[in-house]
């Protein structure tokens, strides 16, 4: 393990920050924050650890790039090492984090943003950074309480914000999985970009579906939760 620990020490220069906020925004789902230390591009990720014993985990930044802080969105993995401890962190506690990095970047060009669960994080960062013009956000979840940030997204994006709920129903929410929604929908411009974020099976299924609808794979960008 020595070399992996060395990597943790050297990798992207993990440094210590203090938690400034940690809020349970839905059952078992938390938004934890620390002070921003340098610029980032919406869509980037950070590495997060609570000690040097285990390699860090990677999370998308989940806030605007002018907010003066870094937020990440996480849900508790009961058998995990990091998230049960992270959930109990309070303001003033120390975390080890990296500078934001990565190449899942948003920009001003027309695009579909497609996410499931906490995969909404990079798109919320893009949205909060002023990149939501000409975007269609499709968010899938099993339960209605998993549409994080839905009030502000609905208010700002209107009809360009689509929720797909597979296990519960509500007005203005498509009942079914994202793939069901995409199968029924028809308008997928080939010159748009398609950003996907979530678990691997969703990403793979949506990517195949888009390719079958004629979208060039070069226009599909995927970020998978490992």
């Amino acid at each position: 393990m020595a070399k992996a620990e060395e990597y943790s020490r050297a990798d992207h220069e993990l440094f210590s920050v203090k938690v400034i906020d940690n809020v349970e925004i839905s059952a078992g789902v938390y938004l934890i924050s620390w002070k921003q230390n340098g610029a980032f591009i919406p869509g980037q990720v950070v590495k997060v650890a609570i000690d040097r014993l285990q390699p860090p985990r990677i999370y998308s930044v989940c806030c605007g790039n002018i907010d003066g802080k870094i937020n990440i969105l996480f849900n508790i993995k009961e058998d995990g090492y990091l998230t049960p401890k992270l959930a109990t962190a309070v303001p003033g506690d120390e975390l080890l984090v990296s500078q934001p990095y990565g190449s899942f970047h948003g920009d001003g060009s027309p695009a579909f943003w497609i996410a499931t669960g906490t995969g909404i994080a990079p798109f919320y960062s893009m949205f909060q950074s002023g990149l939501s013009d000409h975007k269609i956000l499709i968010h899938g979840a099993r339960y209605l309480n998993q549409f994080y940030f839905e009030e502000e997204l609905e208010w700002a994006m209107g009809k360009n914000y689509v929720r797909c709920c597979s296990l519960e129903t509500s007005c203005n929410v498509f009942h079914g999985r994202i793939t069901n929604y995409l199968l029924e929908a028809n308008h997928f411009p080939k010159d748009y970009k398609y950003y996907l974020c979530g678990k691997s099976l969703m990403v793979v299924e949506v990517r195949d579906l888009l390719i079958s609808k004629g979208i060039p794979y070069e226009n599909i960008f995927a970020e998978i939760y490992f």
Partner: protein, 342 residues
């Protein structure tokens, strides 16, 4: 459900023995029976007392399981289908080549990595294999005993199930286990850096990295892992590791028509890999459903190989084997699963 003895390491077998009130050396006897002799039940462990066997039988089962299906290619390659403890299926390939028999084992049921060109990824991730389930893929095939080489290149990403992979390597290479040389074993990964470093530190087996393109943006579209662990970082870590004289690192490179088979790719590969004593295995792409990628023609493949060799990078084209039996990894198990669910 009873726990399984097969897949336990020597320490665990000694602990089991002590917990059952048996002498500690029974652990070594168990390891001999599990990994050095061809038996399939506790009752056949003839140097254990009857009461010891009864104690073991009460709490444990032997733990090997036979393949549920086997397909044989015209070229002699076999593809075995094994049921897993989670009621899913995994594949194991046995590839004969002159006097060698190479077994390609799976490490996960499905895969999380979502590579564009991979059939296994289309199943999603359905579970981790245990060390016993990994080693069982070698122990329970007909060719067991004649196996000369093992490659961890089947379903799943080995470095996403590293504890079980390291334990399986321990069983395969320890004196108390199968006592195979680690130089006959290659573990292939897409390059999860912290796990790769731990593997290099804790194992002596060879390393293979799925490269597929030296360009960041191209690799992101083929392999989402590139966002988290860019190939340049993976290679930088490899350059910093002392592989010694015997241990090998190689790079897997599937050729895609018009995408990663150009002179620009050769130039960038040479730049990326300079300073590493390595080999590139060029692989023909066998199309999988729903993937918009194609294989280049033979002339392009051979030219790509020759160009790399001219630049002092050892490159070989891997022979395609078992194409008539769903050679693309994951096809057979996906079909079996669909059949079962249907």
């Amino acid at each position: 459900m009873k726990d399984q003895l097969f897949g336990k390491d020597l320490n665990e077998l000694q602990e089991i023995s002590l917990a059952l009130g048996l002498p500690k050396f029974t652990g070594k006897q168990l390891a001999d029976w599990l990994y050095k002799k061809e038996i399939s039940s506790v009752d056949e462990m003839s140097n254990l007392s009857k009461s010891a066997r009864e104690l073991l039988n009460k709490k444990y089962e032997f733990g090997i399981s036979a393949p549920s299906k086997v397909q044989v290619s015209l070229d002699g390659t076999k593809k075995y289908l094994f049921p897993t403890s989670q009621n899913k299926f995994i594949e194991t390939a046995m590839i004969p080549d002159d006097d060698r028999k190479t077994v390609c084992v799976s490490t996960q049921v499905g895969c999380k990595m979502g590579c564009l060109f991979c059939m296994t990824g289309k199943q999603g991730f359905e579970g981790q294999l245990t060390a016993g389930e990994i080693v069982n893929q070698i122990r329970s095939i007909k060719e067991y005993g004649d196996v000369s080489n093992i490659v961890y290149m089947g379903m799943g990403e080995p470095f996403d199930n590293l504890d079980a992979v390291l334990k399986s390597l321990d069983i395969l290479t320890s004196e108390w286990g199968y006592a195979m040389s680690p130089r006959r074993i290659t573990v292939s990964s897409i390059g999860i850096i912290p796990a790769m470093l731990r593997f290099l530190n804790e194992s002596e087996a060879h390393l293979a990295i799925s490269l597929h393109t030296p360009f960041d943006e191209e690799r992101r579209k083929l392999m989402p892992v590139q966002i988290a662990y860019p190939i340049a970082d993976v290679v930088r870590e490899i350059k910093g590791w002392d592989f010694g004289r015997q241990r090998r690192v190689s790079f897997e490179y599937i050729l895609f028509k018009g995408l990663n088979d150009t002179p620009l790719h050769i130039r960038e590969l040479v730049k990326l890999l300079s300073g590493i004593r390595c080999r590139i295995n060029l692989i023909r792409f066998h199309p999988v459903p729903g993937t918009p990628l194609e294989s280049p023609d033979e002339e392009t493949i051979n030219h790509f190989r020759d160009q790399l060799n001219d630049k002092d990078i050892i490159a070989t084209v891997r022979a395609s084997r078992g194409q008539d039996i769903y050679a693309a990894c994951g096809l057979l198990s996906t079909k079996e699963l669909v059949g079962k669910e249907g």
